[in-house]
């Protein structure tokens, strides 16, 4: 659903994501379409609410960027303190996942081999592969030639045998 006006106020969470969440929260419940639409808009409203409150808290502190602490305080002052524990847990989880990913990629980078050496090894491997390909192609060509020759010879001897067979019969007749 593309927004034709491109207005900032038309920004909403995608309907599909909301539908999925409603389905998971209220399985087997029939939810009216206008109710779904309303939930989508409530989301936007909620985000604005939290942002504004967190922003105010941020302005009062010495910081310029809204921090997790500001968001948590905002949730508390707006009556959503019950969300705080779970929200903090997810943050921890996200951080752990991100950390694991960074570790994994840096392990690859730090094999201890400098880049030029890696490049050289790569070039070597390519050259080797090219050579193998060339040898393989050469072999195949030779095999094809041999096969062609054999076929020719076979055809030639077949016709020779035929001729030889017919002359033998003549000889036998003469001896009698």
């Amino acid at each position: 659903m593309a927004s034709s006006s491109g207005n900032d106020d038309d920004l909403t969470i995608p309907r599909a994501a909301i539908n999925k969440m409603i389905k998971e929260t209220l399985p087997n419940v029939r939810v009216a379409n206008d109710a779904r639409e309303l939930v989508v808009n409530c989301c936007t409203e909620f985000i604005h609410l939290i942002s504004s409150e967190a922003n105010e808290i941020c302005n009062k502190s010495d910081k310029k960027t809204i921090s997790p602490e500001h968001v948590i305080n905002a949730l508390e002052s707006l009556g959503f303190a019950s969300y705080i524990t779970e929200v903090k847990d997810v943050l921890q989880e996200c951080k752990t996942v991100a950390l694991k990913r960074r570790k994994a990629s840096s392990r690859l980078e730090n094999l201890g081999i400098p880049e030029e050496e890696l490049l050289r090894q790569q070039q070597e491997l390519f050259a080797k592969a090219r050579q193998q390909q060339a040898e393989l192609a050469q072999q195949e060509w030779l095999q094809m030639q041999q096969a062609a020759q054999q076929a020719q010879m076979a055809a030639a001897s077949a016709s020779a045998t035929q001729q030889a067979g017919s002359s033998q019969d003549e000889d036998e007749e003469d001896d009698m």
Partner: protein, 119 residues
């Protein structure tokens, strides 16, 4: 977002621990709030997860307190009702115009016209 995609396998078993809403969209909405300049990435995760919890909370609350509970349905009015009854959801009343029946609207329109006619 890489966060969402790589966690797909985990979502069925640990759906509480991951985020299913699109973080980039939440960021856009936050930035469209007046005066909001920069947001720390972790603060963004928190807000996104809080929004998810909000959806669940709103849906459950509206359903449990709503008229449709026995028939297993959730309607617009259930949501509107909860917003008015629950204090933490009061902020939603701005975007919840009370739905009125067409005939009532026409009636009030007539009344207004009559009043104007008196002058």
């Amino acid at each position: 977002m890489s966060q969402n995609n790589s966690d797909k396998d985990d979502q069925t078993s640990t759906s509480k621990k991951t985020i299913s809403l699109p973080i980039s969209r939440v960021k856009l909405i936050m930035k469209s709030s007046p005066d909001v300049s920069s947001i720390n990435q972790d603060a963004l995760f928190l807000t996104t997860k809080a929004t998810e919890l909000f959806v669940q909370h709103l849906a459950l609350s509206s359903f449990n307190n709503g008229a449709g509970k026995e028939s297993n349905t959730l309607s617009y009015s259930d949501l509107a009702h909860t917003a008015e009854e629950t204090e933490t959801f009061h902020f939603l009343t701005d975007i919840l115009p009370k739905k009125i029946f067409a005939r009532d609207y026409l009636k009030s329109l007539e009344q207004m016209q009559e009043e104007e006619g008196d002058f």
